[in-house]
Symmetry: C2
Subunit: 143 residues, 2 copies
Amino acid sequence: MRIGELAERAGTTTRTLRYYESLGLLPARRTGNGYRSYDEDDLRLLQQIRTLRDFGFELEETRPFVECLRSGHPAGDSCPASLEVYRRKLAELDECIGRLSAIRERVGTQLDQAERARARLEAAATAPERAPEPRCELTPPGP
Amino acid sequence: MRIGELAERAGTTTRTLRYYESLGLLPARRTGNGYRSYDEDDLRLLQQIRTLRDFGFELEETRPFVECLRSGHPAGDSCPASLEVYRRKLAELDECIGRLSAIRERVGTQLDQAERARARLEAAATAPERAPEPRCELTPPGP
DNA sequence: GTAGACCTTGACCCCGACGTCAAGGCCAGA
DNA sequence: TCTGGCCTTGACGTCGGGGTCAAGGTCTAC
């Protein structure tokens, strides 16, 4: 199948497939006229990539899974390297959730205090204290 | 005081202050020779901005707090607009934490299954199911 | 008068994962 | 033959929050 069909079947765009190819993540064979040519196995690789991306994996982190599938394993996570990525991701998720929860706590406290201050029609205290270094990206997915 | 001193006292850089000025977030007066000139109030505004940024607020989200302080209120969160931002942020945090927790769950499950499959020396099942649309940025803060 | 420590604006660079042209090649149907 | 729909490569834009020059102006101390 050609690039347009693969993109459609995987629910993505041709631009994305060319980008993956440029990373060496999903190389394509070529037909006589230079068109990219894909088969059902490529679709499976692509689905693996998209699935992991939906889980918040970076593209580079999907590479072990793709390699694993390509080397004949039945699932992308049948290989040790993939399991290692899973574990790293779990740790990352835990840390991120922990940070966000701590911030949530502090923001909630600030809101409570500020609301009470307004309710009492009193001047609020000074600015909130400086947090040590809590940064996880919070921005929701772009349009 | 001039830009260098303000930057140092706030623990940031002159570049950052010029950037904030370009956004209209922290405008500066000018002395005769064109140098930027700041006072203690500007330091307070800047501290408010940095504090909120440490909480993961985007710069635009700090604007209501800064406006609030500039209009004479004792704290940046003394104004309704600021409280509104607090509430939005709380909702955002809750959603983000929820998403990440759900993903954590799924990744954990995947890992368990894959590990058990390997332990049994059996082939794992097919690729993990497609998640609906769970994207929070997970990347840790840059260096 | 001159070093050097500050300041000015302008411009380009970074990250990730693509989106969005632009200019042109290939192929099928009417 | 021509139109329209695919495909190709290449190059630039996006977003946030600044970093990092470069070329030059200003002030203070010696």
